[in-house]
Symmetry: C2
Subunit: 235 residues, 2 copies
DNA sequence: ATAATAGTGTCTCTAAGACATTATATT
DNA sequence: AATATAATGTCTTAGAGACACTATTAT
């Protein structure tokens, strides 16, 4: 029997029944803090609770495709880049059926997050609290998400912090043109602590990632700051 | 309808048919190089090719459980800690059926890897080659693994390098008691480049991760080296 | 004694933190 | 002119790389 004959006779129905899903952690920096997009569950289970936007993986799509589709349809996010960070597989994590969920992190600008917060959406604030991420509502009350989504958010923000200097993903939290002060605020929000200004500026300017635009941000109060953008092809 | 009633009536058979699997990247350092455990495929598809040890996720187990089970049954590895690093989801990556595979990295000692290399197993050598990982047989010929396992290995070794200083996982590549020179060789193998000796020693000793044992490795040739072990609870 | 490896000292360079100072626009 | 923020300068400290040197033990 050659490989072709084998495949023709293979019974694809004999594998264990598992569903695969994607859950999105969509984050922006607003008022110097990380903000998280939540969606209210309209149906059981956990009806009425806040949760991460998610979808089941469809037969013809990759996980990246599924994340992009979920962002479009459930989070009104069109252009963000989503990155896989971890799979969650506790057998009872979804009471309906066995779902292995792949967590995806998407970083967007404040404007994009505000634009995608509709009636059934909400924003929560993420703060570092002795080594963990605490999720709070805008009136500073703790929020407990549906399913294991608290854990998914925790893992996502840890990964975000690890990748802060290692990749250029973090720049997706800023508009195309930004000032060094805005970049510093983003770093402070991700790290959960203040950053030394001269050292930060030197490090960023020496990194080769920034392209000065030779223009300043008009419209702000007091002295305007130089504008930069992420250099094309920067690692 | 409350949540309990909803769940009783929920038809779990309506989700898209996907199988979930785990693939193991089992690595040790032998002769100053990263070595990878491979298993020969006995059945179609890709019969006769070298592949990573893998299994389908069973209904009652987590992905971590599945990785441990696969290590026991398909790689003769009992005690290693496996860490998830990425999910692979190209729809055609397995010709039999839709399989989303979660890559797991396990670091073991040279002795453990040699002990688990049976008749149907083989070792390949991993080398950094201008930004990618090249997989070669012991006689230095390139090896092409089954399915997308080349890509899985590549991703695993990148992750290993990222986590080299960030976690204490790397110490699993060494026996319980080791010398600083052996630790340096492990770091050089993972990074794919040489390391400055005095700086490396200072950095390791200052890290607080090492506990000197006050003994030396007897039996070696020439001057014996101080023995250390990973300090309990070290981050 | 010799050889080979273990381990250290010194110098230099770079990066970061602390803190103060200068610069520049808006009010 | 006053003010709030942008941007830089200086000093210090810590860590890493280069290179040479000393130390120790098997042969």
């Amino acid at each position: 029997m050659n490989e072709r004959e084998f495949l023709l006779g293979y019974d694809a129905a004999t594998f264990p029944a598992v569903a695969v899903a994607v859950d999105l952690v969509v984050v922006a920096v607003i008022d110097s803090s990380l903000n998280l997009l939540l969606i209210r569950r309209e149906d059981h289970p956990a009806r009425g609770r806040w949760a991460l936007p998610g979808s089941l993986l469809q037969p013809e799509e990759t996980l990246d495709d599924c994340a992009a589709r979920t962002a479009r349809h459930k989070a009104c996010i069109e252009r963000a880049r989503f990155r896989q960070f971890q799979a969650f597989s506790e057998p009872q994590r979804d009471p309906r059926l066995r779902v292995v969920s792949i967590g995806y992190l998407g970083l967007v600008t404040e404007g994009a997050l505000r634009a995608s917060t509709t009636k059934e959406h909400s924003l929560a604030i993420l703060r570092w609290k002795d080594g963990n991420v605490s999720i709070r509502s805008s009136d500073n009350r703790p929020v407990r998400l549906a399913f294991d989504h608290d854990e998914i958010v925790n893992t996502a923000v840890r990964r975000l912090r690890i990748d802060l200097d290692r990749t250029t993903d973090t720049f997706a939290l800023l508009p195309e043109e930004f000032t060094l002060r805005e970049l510093q605020i983003v770093h402070e929000a991700v790290r959960g602590e203040e950053v030394n200004k001269p050292a930060f500026r030197k490090r960023m300017l020496d990194s080769g990632r920034l392209e000065p635009l030779g223009r300043k941000n008009t419209g702000g109060a007091y002295r305007p700051a130089e504008l930069y953008r992420l250099r094309e092809g920067a690692q």
